[in-house]
């Protein structure tokens, strides 16, 4: 607590935080778009961007169609989807850490990811490539799996009209473990699909285009909009559930809102990208250390930082080696040690935030 005084900003500095971080984010998006394995000269990349997206009348001489396609249909959608996924997961993380008052909570704590993974593996095993509602079978099943899991966990934990947070967490863990086991069985029984399932569970933005972005966007927007209405109440929730009731918060409704919104967002994102861990856990923490615990600042900043973080991780993932590394591995690889660093700092500071 007191150990972090050095990092936390004064309130008068906070006004500039959001505009500055948006600028930073746009800068990083730009850098990540113009870098990559395919060697497109910096100048050319800039010209393509200006021509394609700002519709400026620029001389496109000497630029191959291949380069244009790479920028337009490969790199840019990846950057945008990366931002969307990272931002969405980070905002969900804020919401979950808020209602659970637990710094270890992330969007997957109730088993959304296991449900989605199980759905996805069924889809992969059954080769469901037919498209429905604009999604292929795997995506659709992952989405359904995620939703059904939360519905199950929610109903298991329900006591009368109330959903105690502790029960919710425990039944989340139990259901999640069971579903993971089921997925393992499917993997063992279908060895030929094992690689594909494994890759799915590690999360990747590879081969995703504008189509997937349009698929995720409405759910993410809807969910984030809903979450953004809960800022003040989430603040109060952090000071204790009983206090929240005494200060006029409809705690049960708040839990439902956050659970629903987060499930919609997370399900949509991971059914397209696979499971990308650590963004939803680490980003809200880092932002809280910089900007304090108020959700009105925490949420938008987490959105920007989450998106930026995932774009960077994805750029590393696609530029580092001959083989593409799933971005989920990169996020965990960066996020894990960073989180350990945070924990050791907090231990010195005398507590968790």
């Amino acid at each position: 607590m007191s150990g972090k005084k050095g990092i936390q900003m004064k309130s008068q500095d906070r006004r500039w935080t959001i505009p500055l971080s948006i600028l930073l984010c746009i800068g990083i998006m730009y850098v990540c778009t113009v870098t990559g394995i395919a060697s497109i000269p910096f100048q050319d990349a800039n010209r393509i961007l200006l021509h394609e997206f700002l519709h400026l009348d620029i001389n496109m001489e000497g630029i191959t169609d291949g380069s244009i396609t790479i920028i337009r249909n490969v790199r840019l959608p990846r950057v945008v989807l990366g931002f969307l996924a990272g931002a969405s997961l980070a905002v969900c993380g804020c919401g979950f850490q808020g209602i659970f008052k637990n710094p270890m909570a992330d969007p997957f704590v109730l088993g959304v990811s296991s449900g989605a993974a199980l759905g996805a593996s069924i889809g992969i095993v059954l080769h469901l490539d037919r498209r429905l509602l604009g999604m292929n079978g795997t995506t659709l099943l992952a989405f359904a799996g995620a939703f059904l899991t939360i519905a199950l966990v929610y109903n298991i934990s329900k006591v009368g009209k109330k959903v105690p947070v502790a029960t919710l967490l425990l039944s989340g863990i139990a259901v999640s473990q069971t579903l993971s086991a089921a997925m393992s069985i499917i993997m063992i029984m279908n060895k030929q699909s094992m690689d594909q399932i494994m890759f799915w569970t590690m999360g990747s933005l590879n081969g995703k285009g504008w189509e997937q972005i349009l698929l995720v966007l409405p759910y993410s927007l809807l969910g984030i909009l809903l979450l953004s209405t809960t800022c003040r109440e989430l603040d109060i929730m952090l000071t204790g559930e009983e206090t929240a009731v005494q200060l006029g918060v409809n705690v049960e409704l708040l839990k439902k809102k956050v659970l629903f919104a987060s499930t919609v967002i997370t399900a949509a994102v991971i059914s397209v990208t696979g499971i990308i861990g650590f963004v939803g856990l680490v980003v809200p923490h880092v932002v809280r250390m910089i900007a304090g615990p108020k959700h009105r600042i925490l949420m938008p900043l987490s959105l920007v930082f989450g998106g930026t973080f995932l774009i960077i991780c994805d750029t590393v993932a696609r530029s580092m080696a001959v083989w593409e590394i799933p971005v989920g591995i990169i996020t965990s690889l960066c996020g894990g040690p960073f989180f350990i660093y945070l924990l050791s700092r907090m231990k010195k500071g005398g507590g968790l935030s």
Binding site: I236, T243, V249, N250, G292
Partner: protein
Amino acid sequence: MNETILGFHHVAAAYGEREILKDVTLSIREGGFVGLIGPNGTGKSTLIKCVSGLLPLKHGNITICGRENSTLKSRERAQMVAVVPQSYHVGYDFTVEDIVMMGRNPYLGFRKKEGPKDHAIVDEAMEMTNTAIFRDRCYNELSGGERQRVILARAIAQTPRIILLDEPTSALDVHHQIEVMELITKLNQEEHMTVLAVLHDINMASRFCQRMVMLQDGVVSVDGTPQEVIDRKNMESLYNMKLMIRESPLFHKPEIIPIRVMEEEKISVSCHIHVICGATEAVRLIERLDAKGYTLTAGVLNKQSEDWHICQELGIQCIEIEPFTPVTAEKQAENLNLMKDADIILVAGVPFGEGNIMNLQGLENTAGQLYIHRNILRNDHTNGKLAERISSLEKTKKITYIEDNNTFLEILEHSLKP
């Protein structure tokens, strides 16, 4: 002004199977300052939880400002009732102002952001509680007393009509205890908030509350002014221990003095002790002798002296005179008469002066063994008369000198052993 603002009608509540509140009926008038007392586990905090909607009732109902509590939305309830818990920890780095602003939540919605009016109310609440000076500091960095003031400010920002306090001072040192209680009194008197406070400290409750309600085994056992509620019988049955009540000369409110929980070992034979005292020195000794089962008498005592008070409290027969009047020969005759059958006569370590030297007159002719506390010789204000009196006594009667009261008790116990 004097209507019932908070009513409990046959309220029963339980945690699972464990029944805590059995049948509580109580009505609190607007503007009242009511202290809720009772030993641990009798349901005082549970009652507060029921009002704030955290625990559903098994039976009965609660009305707040004339409205049935169970039909209120938590938002509506929070506009009328604010709760101040005992020491309160927040695991996150909110500033003091953030915490106080949370008190405005019942009046805000996601479309209605806090406006100038809310800021004005929050500022005023912080001024009142003297917390404005650290408005930008982190709540967690504050001391216990400062935190409690911040939580009070949050309650004030709710602009409630009723304020419920659950042991608001239990984690605080005495300075901050009084500070918080004075603040609550101010809210009650100046802001006309009705106060219901769970208090552990009976003396604090007696001093600040207009009315006290004693909760025992899930029901209201006594209800009245501090003078009515705090008497020895009530308190001894409530706390199951030996204690004393006296009126605080400073506040003119009854005050409780806990004495002991474990019983003294009783003597097996009867033994009559007469104590010659009259100031403050014999209080503890008289209480202990009484608890051990000795038959006691005392004299001659000035009324209103501490020794006299303890005799009154314990029902010990004594010879008394008006305050600041000297012991007369007649009174001493009565005194001698009272001690004629005493097995032991003790002259406690009181100061002697012209007014009470008469107390030692005529002891030659008594039957009991005479014990004298040596302190009387150190506290002699008689210009030598005392020493004269003692030496003349010593000629005809055996005197045992004692150095302190514990020695006396040991000698007694030793001599009474078969």
